[in-house]
Structures are given as structure tokens and as C-alpha cells.
Symmetry: C2
DNA sequence: TGTTGTGAATCTCTTCACAGCT
DNA sequence: AGCTGTGAAGAGATTCACAACA
């Protein structure tokens, strides 16, 4: 339980290490070295060890880290022990794809409600997730104890949805709309824009060709 | 046309500035100050000016930047003047959502082909994009002059798809599968994992609540 | 006065280097 | 010998501060 803040980059990498450990053939081994984790991810062995300092789990020299203990320690560091209920606003193509992606995947980080303004899209279940009218957001968020939200509405609706989420008690927002949300202090926002991601890839693909 | 490398972060922000300028009410104004761009994005005015140094477009003191010229200069810096054709591999829920997202949006950065191994999904058009069997990738990539790819296949197929893309001449990959791709030097890869993105938001949402 | 463009300082993150362990 | 954990150095990104300008 370190008191120092952990950087966004480290948190992202810890999440990645855990996920890669689940899947890889290393999961069947009893123990793993930092350089093996590095080989799976985009990190160096140094960086892996540095990141693991934050979680406070120590490996042993010459034996490395016990895989199951390491995964559990990362979980204790990253996850809310009580679980985290998430909602999604905007049941379009992307919203549905995300519901499908998370469906039944992680009980401790589950999308438990989806919202939309369109009457035709609500009052049913999509990929196991209940859909409600946007007007019910505050009530459902309180009832279901939701503190994290995903925004997949069009750009011009995103800011207004963000404000409704904050008012409903949401403290963290993952935003896929192509705007930068303005939220009060105490609320964390991550913007992910598909166009920017693709433009970056196209730019560096072209630049690397030059050398 | 600066010879110095520009950082990934700056490229991402330049893409963001341009996108925000398109949409905001600033687009109708003749000129814009760095602090106005900063207010739309998550950057500071200092950072905006520093980033714009890379594109080589100069504003004028007391009048700022001419919006149309600025947008055009960023375009000349970021975009391939010949345009960039993109393909997508993996026609699942997420793949279809991405096809829909980019459909008709940017002629210079268009998804012109989609691929899947499932026979039932190919030989038709989705959101205006032609779908082919994965085996046709090399032929179609050459014919359509494709050098950027998007991966939306399951985790265990992603590495193999990445290798096929590279062999077909792709130099940049945007990967949505939850693995870190191994690609040869000269190929640029960006991994975006939805679970990691959401876990980061949940983590910081919880931490901020403490203070 | 209020802005741009940019050197210099600061802050953050990564990598190096190595002591200590098994 | 080969690993972990970590102080210290180095690299990279951001912010400060201010000259030049309109």
C-alpha cells in the first residue's frame, strides 16, 4: 500500500502485464522472470521490475516471481476489492461492440447498464446488459452503485452526457467521442479517439519507410 | 518540413487540435489564439505553441493563428499527400463498428478493404467497405496500395494476422487485440486494449475519491 | 497590453549500474 | 552465474520566463 502516487503509464502497464500473464503459456509455469514479462509486453525488464515496486510484491532472485501470487498482487493493487460497476451511454455500433467485448468477461469490472435517448434502443438487454432511457441514469446509477462510465455518443452530445454522469456520481469516464471532456476536479477522464489513433499510425508508418 | 523527429505525443495532439478546430465554433472565426486551442483540448497554451513549432506554421502576435491556414498546415505535416488506404482484419462486432465509424468520413484516410477467415462474412460490402477472404490479403493490399492495417481479430489470431499484414506491405498497425504484437523494425504498431483503458479509468476514479 | 516563439529550468520517466540474494 | 530491487544518471517532456512584435 504505497502512499506515493503511481503514474498513469505504470498503471496501464501493470494492467497489461496481468492480462498477458493470464493468456500466455507462462501462466502454466510456477514462476516467471521480469525479462519474460518484458518479452510479452513492450517494456524492458528494468521497467517491469520498476513497475512491480509500486504493487509491493517481491520476487526472489534466481526464481523470479510466482505467477499466481504476482497476478493476485497486481489485482489487489489495481482493482476495487468491492468490484466496480460500469455503465455505457450511447447504444450505437461502437457501444454495442463494447458491450459485446466486456460481456461476461470480468465479474469485478462489469458493464451493468446501458443508456440511450432513443426509445427504440432501450428496455431490453444487449449482450446481457440491461438498457435504459437516459433519463433513468441517476436512478439506475445509484441503485447499481455505478462510479465508472463509458461514453459512445456522437460528439455534440458527449459533454452533456459527461455532466449527467458526474451528477449521477460517476468519478471516472472513458470517452470515445471525438471531443475533450470538461469535468470537475475529482473526476478522471480518458479520451480515446479512433481517428487520432489511426492518424498517428499512418504518420509513423510513413516516416519509418523513409529510413 | 522539419528534419528532427517529432514525438508520438506531439503527433497525437496535433491530430487532436485539427479535429477540435473543425468542430468547434472557432472554425467560423478567422483566427484563434493558442490558449483557445488549449481550452478545447487537454493541453496548455505553452504546449500548443510548442507543438505547432513542429509543423512550422507561424502565427502573428496579437492576432494568433489563421484557422484555415493552421488546419491546412497541420494537414500538410500529418497527412500523406497521396492519401492513405487502410484495411481492417476481423469482421466482428468491433470491426463492423470501426468500419461504420470511418465510413465516408475522411477520403484521405479511408478503410478500403476488410478481411475475415469466415466465408459467411466476406464477398459483400459493410458500411460501403468491400469484404474479402483473408487469403486475398496480399493481392488486395497490393492492388489497393494499402500500407496501414487495423486488427480486430481475437487475441490468439492477432500475431499471425500481423505477420500477414507485414508481408503484404503494411508498415503501420493499429491493434485492438489484447496482445502486444511483435513486428520487424520499420513497422510501427499501436496497441489499444479496451480492458486496460477501462481498468485505468476505474483505478484513478477510485484514487481521486480518496482525496 | 496581450500575444507568439523559444531558450532555459524543471519535472517526469526510463535506463544504467550494481549491491545483495540464492 | 543470473536474478531482484533500487539509487543515480540520463533522456525526454513540460512549464517557466522573457524578448520581439503588432
Amino acid at each position: 500500500m504505497s502512499l506515493a502516487d503511481t503514474s498513469e503509464k505504470t498503471i496501464g502497464r501493470l494492467s497489461t502485464y496481468r492480462r498477458l500473464l493470464y493468456r500466455s503459456d507462462l501462466a502454466s509455469q510456477a514462476s516467471v522472470y521480469s525479462h519474460q514479462i518484458a518479452a510479452l509486453s513492450r517494456a524492458t525488464a528494468d521497467q517491469v521490475r520498476r513497475d512491480l515496486m509500486a504493487v509491493g510484491y517481491s520476487g526472489s532472485p534466481n526464481k523470479g516471481y510466482k505467477v499466481n501470487e504476482l497476478v493476485q498482487s497486481i489485482g489487489e493493487f489495481l482493482d476495487n476489492p468491492a468490484g466496480e460497476n460500469v455503465c455505457l451511454v450511447g447504444i450505437g455500433n461502437l457501444g454495442r461492440a463494447i458491450l459485446s467485448y466486456f460481456s461476461g468477461r470480468r465479474p469485478k469490472l462489469a458493464i451493468v447498464a446501458a443508456f440511450d435517448v432513443a426509445v427504440s434502443k432501450v428496455n431490453r438487454a444487449i449482450h446481457g446488459c440491461r438498457c435504459y432511457p437516459l433519463d433513468d441514469l441517476a436512478a439506475v446509477a445509484e441503485r447499481e452503485n455505478i462510479h465508472v462510465g463509458i461514453i459512445t455518443v456522437p460528439a455534440d452530445a458527449a459533454q452533456s452526457v459527461a455532466e449527467k454522469l458526474v451528477e449521477a456520481g460517476v468519478r471516472g469516464i472513458l470517452n470515445f467521442a471525438p471531443v475533450c471532456l470538461r469535468v470537475p476536479p475529482g473526476v478522471y477522464t480518458a479520451d480515446f479517439d479512433m481517428t487520432t489513433a489511426l492518424e498517428k499510425v499512418a504518420y509513423f508508418a510513413r516516416k519509418m519507410g523513409r529510413n
